[in-house]
Symmetry: C3
Subunit: 452 residues, 3 copies
Amino acid sequence: MKLGTKSLFVGAVLGALGIATVGPAAAAVSDETAYVFNTFSFLVSGFLVMWMAAGFAMLESGLVRTKNTATICLKNITLYSTAGIMYYLIGYGLMYTDVSGYIGSLAGAFYNPSEAELALLGADEATDEMVAEVVGNGYSVASDWFFQMVFVATAASIVSGTVAERIKFWPFIIFTVILTGIIYPIQGSWTWGGGWLAEMGFSDFAGSTIVHSVGGWAALVGAILLGPRKGKYAADGSVNPIPGANLPLATLGTFILWLGWFGFNGGSVLALGSAADATWMAIVYTNTNLAAAGGVVAAVILTQIMYGKIDLTMALNGAIAGLVSITAGPDLTNHFMSIIVGAIGGVLVVLAVPLLDKLKIDDVVGAISAHLVAGIWGTLAVAIFGGADFVVQVIGIVAVGAFTVIASLVVWLILKVSIGIRADEEAEVDGLDKSELGLEAYPEFGSGSQRI
Amino acid sequence: MKLGTKSLFVGAVLGALGIATVGPAAAAVSDETAYVFNTFSFLVSGFLVMWMAAGFAMLESGLVRTKNTATICLKNITLYSTAGIMYYLIGYGLMYTDVSGYIGSLAGAFYNPSEAELALLGADEATDEMVAEVVGNGYSVASDWFFQMVFVATAASIVSGTVAERIKFWPFIIFTVILTGIIYPIQGSWTWGGGWLAEMGFSDFAGSTIVHSVGGWAALVGAILLGPRKGKYAADGSVNPIPGANLPLATLGTFILWLGWFGFNGGSVLALGSAADATWMAIVYTNTNLAAAGGVVAAVILTQIMYGKIDLTMALNGAIAGLVSITAGPDLTNHFMSIIVGAIGGVLVVLAVPLLDKLKIDDVVGAISAHLVAGIWGTLAVAIFGGADFVVQVIGIVAVGAFTVIASLVVWLILKVSIGIRADEEAEVDGLDKSELGLEAYPEFGSGSQRI
Amino acid sequence: MKLGTKSLFVGAVLGALGIATVGPAAAAVSDETAYVFNTFSFLVSGFLVMWMAAGFAMLESGLVRTKNTATICLKNITLYSTAGIMYYLIGYGLMYTDVSGYIGSLAGAFYNPSEAELALLGADEATDEMVAEVVGNGYSVASDWFFQMVFVATAASIVSGTVAERIKFWPFIIFTVILTGIIYPIQGSWTWGGGWLAEMGFSDFAGSTIVHSVGGWAALVGAILLGPRKGKYAADGSVNPIPGANLPLATLGTFILWLGWFGFNGGSVLALGSAADATWMAIVYTNTNLAAAGGVVAAVILTQIMYGKIDLTMALNGAIAGLVSITAGPDLTNHFMSIIVGAIGGVLVVLAVPLLDKLKIDDVVGAISAHLVAGIWGTLAVAIFGGADFVVQVIGIVAVGAFTVIASLVVWLILKVSIGIRADEEAEVDGLDKSELGLEAYPEFGSGSQRI
């Protein structure tokens, strides 16, 4: 279970077991009612996070050039599908079943309903014992699987934006298979699976580090190994901006992410079966919105000051950075601090994007800045504003980062030397849509005007 | 009520009547709490399915040419509106009120809150008897109406994509009036209204046959009567691909459909008032997602093998086919089987699209392949994987298909010989946007480049 | 609290306080369960209304010209962010805290969780008293803040569409600061804050007047002070239509608004903790959908009759007008009347758009017609169909209108004479994207074809 809310959750389970009940029967939430609330919360929050897959698809579709647009759409729907299947086949088990400290077990692979659930569902008449056994788990197993699955898909979505416009389709999908089936679940088991980082007290409520930085690290390694897009950096070191083809779609994608984030952070309360749970969830929604708003406003003001003009894409990345920043600690009880946390995230993204360009690391959509940089900041912010241990937070950031970088590097390198990861030069110039898909995303829209 | 979950639901109603309670009072879901859960589940699931109307609008907007884009938008918002009004005026009654076996009654037309509900809502102080009478129904009448209404709109949305780019606006809307007010409700009454197919044991949890195949059959008849778009099939029998104008929008539409499908299938559990109900809903969400993922992956791999390139539109149709395939039986308790069911759906759509082209049946968006073919498969899959009677499933498929084909044929033919259904040649060449709407969907985007 | 449902709500609170319980313990919703339902309803409804911000962004992106598209995207995400921060800093307090009749208090600014909530959340073990104190409020404070916040953002979104394509970015944002921090909250306190209009009996369930007309009035004043776009009205008085650049996006935006409106109206029941609450919410969903459908069908038929062609943008505005019309009274228990209320809204918008053009008031997206005109109609409809006092309804409309017009006029005028509100002529001709943002929304799409 995710750490930040563990105590709440233990309470719910104890309640379900009849060990402790809150308040007199007439006033409290019954155990079975809490089970329904908890399960439904996972489903509603889960469908919001699933919707973020569409958000990434639209954001990336808007920020690549027309000649690579259909390919990025295909990558996004395929990676979401792949993530779900891999997390079913092995990932969920490695992350949550019999976690020994550093890794879970394949005993949890091919997850299915629990025996108690099957007995209850298959019974002509449910006995009290059947109901009590199912209810004792606090929520349905499938609802937890669904909610955890959409998180791993988010991590994979982050990668696709950074490496767009030059990576070949199949190597990217193979990387996604390993990322979602093995890399993400292993490091996830360290904290949310109850492993060594959880025992140390590492605090990452909804995944600034565990989801967003992991995606960002994997993207960073991929971007470095791939190299920049042709024409992005001139020989004299100057940066050639390559504008996105469809900014309203990028804006739509950002709004979708913002909406989905209420499920991402709110659902990570992991329970809705008591007044305390519901209150926590409402606090998380409020902080999530304020941090995103802070990120936008900070990015808009800063770009106005720095450049004299306001870059829409920076405002969008400001929103995302604000959201990532609050993700490690959206349970602040001083809401004003959420604005500050998000605003610092917005500032960081405005500074990080040109910095990466100076390092000639070509990140098509700014995902490394918005997810990795802001993810690190958000994880540290829990120590600054939320009372977590600063050293432990740093240990968590470094450990997860080191593992993800090394594991990603191995996978990317194997792919590079075997089937190759980069499209050949002609394919890149013509666009991946033509070379890999044999079609155009916008066949009627001024195809002669592509600039680079 | 929908059949697959009838037994669950009966339990909830019995509970509400005080005939049976699950577990001791302190642990169980109270009757009124179950009423709130059931009603809220219909509303949340219903708004997700309503959102599918936007999904169809975007999918179809992306797959037609620019010159017909505004028209397809207009058709989609008008058909959704028409469906809601017609289902209110007569459809709901014909489907669910006093079903005699083959048809319901107009006594349920102009549906309004029940007398018990009006008494409760109008009372200064609700008596225990008032509450008990309302709660005894299990859910609010309006929530059920809302949930059922969005299903009929889905059936109508399926038709619009197939017959796009050549059908005139008003005949299409008139067909929608009949489809949503009469044809869909009558066949719906046979199963979900408790009619003859329900008595025989026909099993179609959320409507692979009742919603998706019905839309597909009506679309098939329309496509045959309309004939193909000008230039689609050459005299020598070769097929001229007519690419969609905006593939990111088509991708967005597919993600919207995927999201909405959680409401479509999950809400079809028809109850959320017990641990068993919530567990079923979570199982349905999980299977729905895995089947869609299976459909995508199967379609992507198969197109790579068959054509050496990956067609994005096939991946999108693979997702839809996977979703349609699992719709008749999303309550499988072996989740792995859902991947298989969806993957077979994905394979079928990849094979069916070129087959229809060989038959010179011009389906602009592939809806017949994705909704009718996969709908038939999904209905049979319930016999193969879910224990339904194979013969009964075939009888249901054939009966619903025959009725829908004949009824649609009569309506389409009457429209054809009276006001005509096909736009004249000049209008088709110029595009329906110009001829029927007098405007352009993208007036500033390279209007000179339309190919056909 | 919002008036229309006050009695229900009082019931819930009394229940929570143990003063009255509905039915025997085994059948009723427990107080804490009701608290969870009420809170979760605010969160789910709230995220739907938040999503409307994306709807306005897409609607407006689709209806402006390409050269102003990135700017309208930037305005929309920045205004939503600004609204949230301002409502946190001062708006919520002015609207709901210690309302003296005409205005609330800054004591509610910088809102944070209540002391009781903090005690409950911080306790190692919650006592019965702690739970009872929190539950006694009926819902979590943060959930109410979140739900109210998204409403003020909606009001600001309405303004941005009308004044698009010629207003400078920063003056618009400054106006948003005042509108969302001060103007909206003050008039909101009169009714929903329990002020003088509430005491008089003014009835505006979800805000036809309080949200939509307020946005519309502010937009009207802005449009008059700004003057029309260059080239919109010829010297001879003829109107030069300036078509929107991307109608599928406008259609998507409308569908998003429709979806969000279920939260807007449904959440305004303000409670989900009893059979009566749930039944009301279902009734509101049903009426909301039927009114929107009525608006579409009326607008489509009327434009066909008046012009011989069907304008897609009128159908979209018909949907919005239908939704705005039912917003003051979506709790009608005769659903058929909702179709009528919405259809009249659809007719009004078709008539109002050309009327404003005659008056040379340039409303880029038709927001004044759809939100202000239909908002007035919807508020009167509560008297006609819902039993409210007609005179009181008129007083509310006039009072809110007069206050908003005067306050907006003052703010717009100060901005006009200080920093200026209108982009200079060259910037308007080149497009705001180039002059204010230094980028293009669609850099690869036929940039030479912009007409005006």
